[in-house]
């Protein structure tokens, strides 16, 4: 059974490769499955002095974190490459400059040796400062390379003590690098300031923030996040839209990411042959604090500037993304003339009407995700009912009435003909 599935999968992959090779020579890479690269997770643990506080299930925060890590290391799926990074683990002194550089790789991201990793975790003792920003930057470097999904799990009990480097902006920069890192944060203390900072970091990369008060909650959540990293996802292809249609990059079917600043417009081009249908959808993410009312507009425009169809979305209040999409079936060309069957370059324009809340940085731009599918066109509707069929009691009544009248008429006709025949 397994061999058969494998065979089928192999044959399918071959076929897919062939199809992709012939149909989409340039864009085959776009949004193609990238399951071969191992997912990577970097656990970033705060080992600052405050982790000594005894307020989680009667033990210290550090003890809770260690216990959780041990259980997580046991449960980590084989295919996940796991690393551990600490912050504030080594420098106990008062010098802020040194303290704010204090982040170290406890266990490198790679195939996991559970015993070794556990031994490394056991050596930790709460020591220094809380340099979240620098630790995140380093963690992003740890994860660099490969096409698998990448996730940073940050566990902290105190807000960053190393201003002016705002960890929230650091997170946004990491996301803007386009290496596809998601940062999930776990707060060990229910303080408003910590909550605001950690949720801001999570929001900036599309991650989640969880407030943790018990050891088992911590274990469950970290396990859940590691498992989530193991789920295969399509890695989008980074692209850069132009500010005018003429200069826009040409896209094939696939999944793309880009960045779009507030009030900016992005243009892309897609070639659509007659008889094909273009499907495009776009999501613009709000990765920072934005004003409540916002909108996204996606327009399909001909090369001459005529709008074909548009998709629009508007919303107010809290949101992660605002998305919309459109379909454009290009009619079969009527002439059999070869020259007229050429593909049409359709320009896609993406604009947003997000506005930044006061005091929020406007660069880098908002994350933009674009999916493009070019498929066969639909078979058109020429009647409201399917195949010209009808339904309902009125239809039956009408058919019976007409049939009855036709029968009567036929009967009378034949009687009349019989009468004529008899008189003759």
């Amino acid at each position: 059974m397994i061999t058969r599935t494998r065979l089928a999968a192999g044959a399918c992959a071959l076929l897919a490769a062939l199809t992709a090779g012939t149909a989409f020579p340039a864009g085959a890479a776009a949004g193609e499955p990238t399951g071969e690269d191992a997912p990577k997770v970097d656990l970033v643990l705060d080992v600052s002095g405050s982790m000594r506080t005894r307020d989680i299930d009667g033990g210290t925060r550090m003890a809770a974190a260690k216990q959780a890590f041990n259980e997580v290391l046991d449960a980590t799926p084989e295919e996940v490459q796991l690393g551990i990074r600490t912050l504030g683990a080594d420098y106990p002194g008062d010098d802020r400059k040194t303290g704010c550089k204090d982040t170290a790789q406890l266990y490198p991201v790679g195939p996991l040796d559970r015993t070794e990793a556990k031994t490394a975790v056991a050596t930790l003792s709460p020591t220094g400062w809380t340099p979240i920003g620098p630790a995140l930057l380093k963690a992003a470097d740890d994860l660099d390379g490969g096409d698998g999904s990448k996730r940073i799990v940050l566990i902290s009990d105190g807000e960053d003590t190393c201003a002016p480097l705002d960890p929230c902006e650091v997170a946004r920069e990491i996301a803007a690098k386009g290496i596809g890192v998601t940062i999930d944060t776990l707060g060990l203390v229910p303080s408003t300031k910590l909550r605001r900072q950690l949720s801001c970091i999570a929001e900036a990369t599309g991650g989640t923030y969880t407030s943790v008060e018990h050891t088992d909650e911590l274990t469950d959540k970290v396990n859940q996040l590691v498992d989530r990293a193991a789920d295969p996802v399509v890695t989008p292809v980074a692209t850069e839209g132009a500010d005018a249609c003429a200069k826009a990059p040409t896209l094939e079917s696939g999944l793309y990411t880009d960045r779009e600043e507030f009030g900016q417009q992005r243009w892309y081009r897609v070639d659509v042959e007659p008889g094909q249908e273009l499907r495009a959808s776009v999501s613009v993410g709000a990765d920072r604090a934005v004003n409540p009312s916002h909108g996204v507009l996606l327009r399909a425009v001909t090369a001459n500037g005529r709008e074909i169809v548009r998709g629009e979305a508007a919303g107010n209040g809290r949101t992660d993304v605002l998305s919309t999409g459109l379909r454009y079936p290009k009619a079969e060309s009527d002439d059999s003339d070869e020259g007229n069957a050429a593909a049409e370059a359709v320009c896609l324009q993406v604009t947003n009407s997000f506005s930044p809340a006061s005091g929020v940085q406007t660069t880098p731009g908002l994350p933009l995700e674009l999916t493009v599918d070019v498929v066969d066109g639909p078979s058109d509707s020429d009647d409201v009912a399917s195949f010209g069929l009808g339904r309902g009691w009125w239809l039956l009544g009408l058919l019976v009435l007409v049939g009855f009248l036709a029968g009567l008429l036929w009967g009378w006709l034949s009687r009349w003909r019989f009468a004529v025949w008899r008189t003759n």
Binding site: E32, P33, Y209, L389, R391, L395, L396, G407, W410, R422
Partner: protein, 282 residues
């Protein structure tokens, strides 16, 4: 004599006419089968939710998916809906023991990530302080087989459900919550039939994956686990080809009735047997 025959014909007509009504109530697809299976077949129901369109957890209709998360998370699921179905999304959120008043909401998006309106149902609801749970529902419009590109009609394909708190006090952020989501659908039959169909259902990424689907046949659900695709969703018995609707039954029975009525009408004018005035030798 003539009278009884007519009566007999009328009874037969009535019996035939009742058939389309029966065809109406027996769904041609089997969404109700999925709903029935929901109660028993939950062992493989997903227990996690995605956090974006890209990572949305795929669920089948009738499955009761659960997920745990934190207040403030955006939880995503996706499900398939085929032409002629009218999906209903129901969600239950279990809130922590102590919390301030918070508002939750479900949004449903189609395969093009266009927001789909709810006909009715509480898509937004506010839980009072310390309320243990909250129920949300959204009844979508009937999915059509075809629509004009300028219309926002629901079309067969992937649908996304997003569940989130829209109005959350700062103190509630990050608190553990759990959610349950179930999608059922009502089969609307031929009343919703349109003439025309999409070449491919509105499944994101289908232009990239359709080459694979053609080649592998039944094995796709198994080896799909390592192959990342945007959406590998499909109804249990595949996408409907779109040629069947109960309109065939209605129209066919109409034709039979019309023929019978025609015979009846003819018989009325002709009487039975040979005309009385015709001499036997004619």
């Amino acid at each position: 004599m003539r009278c009884t025959r007519l009566l007999g014909a009328a009874v037969m007509l009535l019996a035939l006419a009742a058939a389309p009504a029966a065809a109406d109530s027996s769904p041609s697809a089997s969404p109700s089968g999925g709903a029935a299976g929901g109660a028993s077949g939950d062992s493989d129901a997903p227990t996690v939710a995605g956090t974006s369109f890209r990572t949305a957890t795929e669920i089948d209709q009738g499955q009761r998916a659960t997920a745990s998360g934190s207040a403030g998370d955006y939880l995503y699921w996706s499900f398939p809906a085929d032409a002629g179905q009218r999906p209903t999304v129901q969600a239950t959120v279990k809130l922590p023991e102590t919390h301030a008043a918070e508002t939750w909401r479900i949004d449903v998006y189609d395969g093009l990530r266009r927001r789909q309106a709810c006909q009715w149902g509480a898509e937004t609801r506010t839980a009072q302080a310390d309320a243990p749970s909250l129920e949300l529902a959204c009844v979508l419009r009937t999915v059509r087989a075809w629509s004009e590109p300028w219309a926002n009609d629901p079309l067969p394909g992937t649908y996304y459900v997003r569940l989130t708190a829209v109005n959350l006090p700062a103190s509630g952020l990050g608190a553990p919550v759990s959610a349950e989501v179930q999608v059922d659908s009502k089969d609307m039959g031929g009343a919703a039939a349109v003439d025309g169909s999409l070449a491919e259902p509105l499944v994101p990424g289908i232009a990239v994956t359709s080459g694979q689907d053609d080649g592998e046949g039944d094995g796709d659900s198994e080896d799909g686990e390592r192959n990342a695709v945007l959406s590998a969703i499909e109804p249990e018995d595949g996408w409907s080809s779109g040629w069947w609707s109960d309109r065939w039954v209605w129209t066919g029975i109409g034709a039979v009735l019309a023929a019978l009525a025609g015979i009846g009408g003819y018989a009325l004018t002709r009487g039975t047997g040979r005309p009385r005035r015709v001499p036997p030798g004619a």
